[in-house]
């Protein structure tokens, strides 16, 4: 009984459709700029290393692609340590 109610009201976060959307988002972003999925890690490491040489970083910096239409931008967020 609960199973079917869950199915009726679920917002399908685990559906194969949402998996397909997630995978496509990643793969299309990389296809468009001609990069590999490894790039993100490399970027994160190198950017952090560069910033850390000059200012103290606090917490975990984040590097993301953001897409608008068919255009892509790099979104870098680096929390800095306050005094």
């Amino acid at each position: 009984m609960f199973d079917f109610l869950k199915k009726v009201f679920s917002n399908d976060e685990t559906s194969s459709r949402s998996r397909a959307n997630d995978r496509l988002r990643v793969v299309l972003t990389h296809d468009r700029i001609g990069s590999s999925s490894q790039l993100m890690e490399t970027l994160q490491e190198e950017i952090i290393a560069l910033i850390a040489r000059h200012i103290e970083i606090e917490g975990t910096p984040e590097v993301h692609f953001i897409t608008e239409g068919r255009h892509t931008a790099l979104d870098i967020s680096i929390p800095l340590k306050g005094r």
């Binding site: 009726v8 559906s15 194969s16 995978r23 496509l24 793969v27 296809d31 239409g69 068919r70």
Partner: protein, 270 residues
């Protein structure tokens, strides 16, 4: 042949991935346009792997092909095959025993320019892939229809093709979603129209639902657009009207009510 308009539109139908329905689209859209009285020629550039003659049911009428035209073995007029049903529809066949490198972009351009005075629409059936055959197919076109299926591999290839068309300075690129299964979208097992629009970000030209009638019409060599009762035919008709600049509402194929959702999950067929 009587032309309706003074200028001609050259439209390439392309997809990247094979088997998504390019040839079916070309056959149905061209038949639909010819049915409305426009003079139309379809150019099969899938050299070595031709299908368009079969889909249109014209395989027994083919005498010459486009390679023989560019090599001077026959004239363009001799190679054009007249459709059985509509006198305004012609097909320029591909060669089956040659390959994509046997014709250059300049030669395709020259053939297109020779066709323009006689036709309102020139539709180009582009081969799968991004090689010479694709470059030949887009060279002469000023509009593109990108055909895709609601499936990750087809969407990825469509995205690549759209990127290549944009680099080639195409301003008019439209999306045709083929073989959508509304029941699967509703149950969360297929990418929806909205999903595809979000990923590909180009204007939507049409959505053709999966329809077993397409196989049957292919078997017979009669484009499904001639079968008024089929949903695919209705979808292709809408595509034809949108190409002609008319505003046609999109069919509500994905919509589902609460009750049918409930019934489906209780095990009833809708």
């Amino acid at each position: 042949m009587e032309k309706k308009n003074s200028d001609s539109q050259v439209i390439v139908v392309t997809s990247g991935k094979g088997g998504v329905g390019k040839t079916t689209t070309v056959a149905n859209v061209s038949t639909g346009l010819a049915k409305l009285g426009y003079s139309v020629v379809v150019m099969d550039l899938d050299i070595g792997l031709k299908k368009l003659d079969l889909i249109l049911g014209l395989e027994n009428r083919v005498i010459y092909d486009i390679i023989q035209v560019v090599e001077g073995e026959c004239t363009l007029k001799q190679a054009l095959v007249k459709d059985k049903r509509f006198p305004a529809l012609y097909m320029l066949p591909a060669a089956q025993t040659r390959n994509k490198d046997d014709i250059t972009t300049d030669q395709v351009l020259a053939v297109c320019n020779e066709l323009k005075p006689d036709f309102d629409f020139i539709l180009i059936d582009c081969p799968a892939g991004i090689e010479q055959g694709f470059r030949n197919s887009i060279a002469a076109a000023d509009k593109a229809i990108v055909v895709t299926n609601p499936e990750v591999s087809a969407v990825r290839d469509a995205d690549r093709i759209i990127g290549m068309l944009e680099s080639a300075n195409f301003k008019d690129i439209k999306l045709l979603i083929n073989r959508l299964r509304p029941d699967m979208v509703r149950s969360g097992d297929m990418l929806s129209i909205e999903d595809l629009m979000e990923h590909l970000c180009i204007e939507l030209l049409g959505v053709v639902p999966e329809d077993s009638g397409v196989v049957i019409s292919t078997n017979r060599g009669e484009p499904i657009i001639l079968n008024d009762r089929s949903s695919a035919a209705q979808a292709f008709n809408n595509v034809v009207h949108r190409l002609l600049g008319k505003e046609v509402e999109f069919m509500n194929i994905e919509q589902d009510s609460f009750w049918s959702k409930l019934k489906r999950n209780l095990g009833f067929k809708h």
